[in-house]
Symmetry: C2
Amino acid sequence: MRILLSNDDGIYAPGIRALRKELQKLGEVVVVAPATEQSAAGHSVTLLNPLLVTEVYEDDGQTFLGWAVEGRPADCMKLALLELLPEPPDLVVSGLNAGSNAGINVLYSGTVAAAVEAAFYHYTAIAVSLEYTKNARLDWPTAADHARKVIETILSHQPAKGSLFNVNIPPLERGPVKGVKVMPQNVSVYEEKFDRRVNPRGRTYFWTSPDFRCITPHPDTDVTALADGYITVTPLQFDLTNHQVIQHMQTWAWGEG
Amino acid sequence: MRILLSNDDGIYAPGIRALRKELQKLGEVVVVAPATEQSAAGHSVTLLNPLLVTEVYEDDGQTFLGWAVEGRPADCMKLALLELLPEPPDLVVSGLNAGSNAGINVLYSGTVAAAVEAAFYHYTAIAVSLEYTKNARLDWPTAADHARKVIETILSHQPAKGSLFNVNIPPLERGPVKGVKVMPQNVSVYEEKFDRRVNPRGRTYFWTSPDFRCITPHPDTDVTALADGYITVTPLQFDLTNHQVIQHMQTWAWGEG
């Protein structure tokens, strides 16, 4: 099995290295990932800058690891599938991200966007993220082991081409995971703050605060199950149409617009 | 009515200026938009850089226009709603974007992301984009007039709080619009190319090609109706869960993960 692996924390991040080791148990892994951290890149793509591409080798300097791209996660995926890989992959994986991508964070996430981009092209794609508590040391090998097992379960059910999944692993420093729950994406808003400051030249600027909390998650969603200590698996799709209201809207009188 | 206006082409782009003029017929408009072009920013947000904010005035230097933010469209929306606006808006509009945001472009679009972000916070939000043919001179006043009329129709139906709409206007240089169609988002992939080059230092880089075409759009979608000369309106939502498969997946045996 040929596996394409990407992420949004960058090709040198510990999460992608740990996940690569585990995925090598399933097949041949090639990495195409951003050269630098691209957290919260969402599904952005690079139109105005050139995408510099560099071959990267393992620490031995001999074993080919893949390509670092000076761009966004979605750029990496496009370049991998259209330009860089000698053969199409059988599976695309994105992660292991440092920090969960549950609830509306799915839309901010570069990790998920890389997987969505692969699904555009009808590849089966799985995004995997690891939640952690502040200042914790992340147990990447255990997280990667969980990720591989969940991926194996998904593959054992032979998902249709272009199937897309979002996997979140709870904070391992709190204890062993309680199991796996298949859950829908939570859609409620997060509480968020900005830190307002004035620079030495008298100009106002804001820092995004790291405190970003979902105050009222729905009880049966990815956010709540993850907080309860479960690995969550959410099947995703990328049709943003609100199908519940579209038929009604088609009866409206629109005039000539 | 208080209207918050944003975009992804930047606060000085002609599209947002034309749309502001039209929206002033409906109420008081405050602009919070990126200081520079942020096309294809998707739903990215800025975590690692400070968000510099500048008050912007009309060309007379006296009339307050709004704030320019050194950030992404979604950053602008968060800052506007949480920090900058003295009172919550009754309506959020994003646009007029130069270029359509139909089909999977909805996911790449900073224009749409600004509207989605507002909908996270339960504001009614409408993204508006103008398609154009290569090298055409864009007729912003006519496009903005169309946009206002469509927005008026939507508002006349008193949409629920947090309702989200994506509006696309066809290329006006091809002739008058044929009318308005309410259409779902097309989900099929686009044909895309990269231009591979080598820099003077021997390093490989790629440019994203401007030729980005949907080869096989579904006949009853935003992409096809727009190509046929109709203004398209698509109600959107931001739950990416694939609800068609989730119940089946909940029956799978996951082991301990």
